[in-house]
C-alpha cells in the first residue's frame, strides 16, 4: 500500500509551545528597534542642519569679496529674459493687427505702468534676493503683461470675425 506523504502536511499541525519569557523578550527588542529609529532620525536632522549652515556660511563668505551672482538671481534673470522676449513678440503681433492708434496708445501706457512697477520690485529683489514673495511678484508682473497682450489680441480677432460676418451679410 502506498500513500502520498504530502497529505500529512496539509492538515493543521500541532503548534509548538513558546519559551516562557518570549513576550517580554520581544517587547525589549521592539523598544530597542524604536530607539535606534529615533536616533537615526535625530542624526539625519543634525546632519541636514549642519549642511544648510555650512552652505549658507560658505556662500556668505565667498559672496562678499567677489559679488558672485547667486543661483537665485541667475534663475530669475533667465525667467525674465524668456518672458520679455515673449512679451515683445506679442506686442508686435498686437500692433500688426490693431490699426487703432488710440488703442495702441492705451496699451502702451498700461504696459509702461507695469514696467515701472517691475523696476521697483527689481530693486527690492536686488536687496533681498532670497525672498520668495518678491520673486513671485516679479513673475506675476511679467505674466500680467503677457496676458493683457494675449487678451486684447483675442478680442481684436473676435471683433474682426464679427465685422467680416457683418460685411458678408450686408
Amino acid at each position: 500500500m502506498q500513500q502520498d506523504i504530502r497529505e500529512f502536511f496539509k492538515a493543521e499541525e500541532e503548534l509548538k509551545t513558546l519559551p516562557e519569557n518570549h513576550r517580554k523578550d520581544f517587547l525589549d527588542k521592539l523598544n530597542a528597534q524604536k530607539d535606534t529609529k529615533k536616533v537615526s532620525y535625530l542624526w539625519l536632522k543634525i546632519a541636514a542642519v549642519a549642511i544648510v549652515a555650512l552652505t549658507v556660511g560658505f556662500s556668505l563668505f565667498y559672496n562678499q569679496p567677489t559679488e558672485e551672482i547667486s543661483p537665485m538671481i541667475a534663475q530669475v534673470e533667465a525667467v525674465e529674459d524668456k518672458y520679455l522676449k515673449e512679451i515683445n513678440t506679442e506686442w508686435e503681433n498686437f500692433i500688426a493687427i490693431a490699426n487703432d492708434e488710440v488703442l495702441i496708445a492705451r496699451f502702451e501706457k498700461r504696459l509702461k505702468a507695469l514696467d515701472d512697477d517691475y523696476q521697483i520690485i527689481s530693486e527690492q529683489f536686488k536687496n533681498d534676493s532670497n525672498n520668495i514673495l518678491v520673486v513671485e511678484d516679479l513673475v506675476e508682473n511679467l505674466q500680467t503683461r503677457l496676458q493683457i497682450l494675449k487678451d486684447i489680441q483675442e478680442h481684436i480677432k473676435i471683433l474682426n470675425q464679427k465685422s467680416e460676418q457683418n460685411e458678408k451679410s450686408i
Binding site: 502506498q2 504530502r6 503548534l15 509548538k16 513558546l18 518570549h22 523578550d25 520581544f26 527588542k29
Partner: protein
C-alpha cells in the same frame, strides 16, 4: 474578525506598539512552529521568529492586503531562518544540475505504514540544502517558482534538490519498509 485584523495592521503602520504586540500574540505560536522546522535549537528559532516580526513591522508598508497577512509573515520568518542557516554556511550554488533519472516529480507515494513522524525524522537526516528545499515544498507547500524566489536559486536547481532529496528519503525509509515485511 477580518475587519478587526485589518485595523490592527493599519495601526501597526503608524508604529502603534500595542497593535504590534497584539499581532505578535496572534501569530507568535504559529510562526515559532514554522521557525522550529528550520532551526533545531528552540532558542535560535525563537530569536529568528522575533527578528522576523521586527522586520515585518519595519516593512509593514510593503504588505498588500490582497495577500493573507499570515502568509506574508511566514515568508519573512522563513527568510529570517534561512539567513541564520546561511550564516552557518548553507550554500546552494555549486551544484551540478543534471537529470539523474527520469522521475515523476509529482509522485510522492511512500509506504502507507509510514507515519508523519517517520517522514519528519527522515527529512532531518537529509543534507542541509536538500532538507531546506524538501521542507519548503513538502511542509510549507511552496512551488518551485516560490522556492527559487525564497532561496534565490534557479528553478532548475530547486527541482534538482527536491529530486535528490526525495530519492534520499525513499532510500532512508526503505529499511523500515523491509523490516515491516519480516
Amino acid at each position: 474578525m477580518h475587519h478587526q485584523h485589518h485595523s490592527l495592521i493599519e495601526r501597526c503602520k503608524t508604529g502603534n506598539q500595542v497593535a504590534q504586540m497584539q499581532i505578535y500574540d496572534l501569530y507568535a505560536k504559529a510562526m515559532f512552529t514554522v521557525a522550529c522546522r528550520y532551526l533545531s535549537n528552540e532558542e535560535d528559532a525563537k530569536d529568528a521568529m522575533q527578528d522576523g516580526f521586527l522586520k515585518a513591522f519595519l516593512n509593514i508598508e510593503s504588505y498588500r492586503p490582497e495577500a493573507a497577512f499570515g502568509a506574508w509573515l511566514k515568508r519573512i520568518i522563513i527568510n529570517q531562518c534561512l539567513d541564520v542557516l546561511r550564516k552557518n554556511q548553507l550554500q546552494f550554488n555549486d551544484i551540478e544540475v543534471s537529470e539523474l533519472k527520469i522521475v515523476d516529480e509529482d509522485d510522492w507515494n511512500f509506504d502507507s505504514n509510514l507515519t508523519k513522524n517517520d517522514i519528519l525524522k527522515a527529512v532531518e537526516q537529509l543534507i542541509e540544502n536538500h532538507k531546506v528545499v524538501v521542507k519548503l515544498y513538502l511542509i510549507e507547500g511552496y512551488d518551485h517558482s516560490e522556492i527559487s524566489e525564497i532561496l534565490d536559486i534557479p528553478v532548475k536547481t530547486s527541482r534538482t534538490h527536491l529530486r535528490r532529496g526525495k530519492l534520499k528519503l525513499q532510500e532512508l525509509l526503505k529499511p523500515k519498509y523491509n523490516a515491516a515485511r519480516y
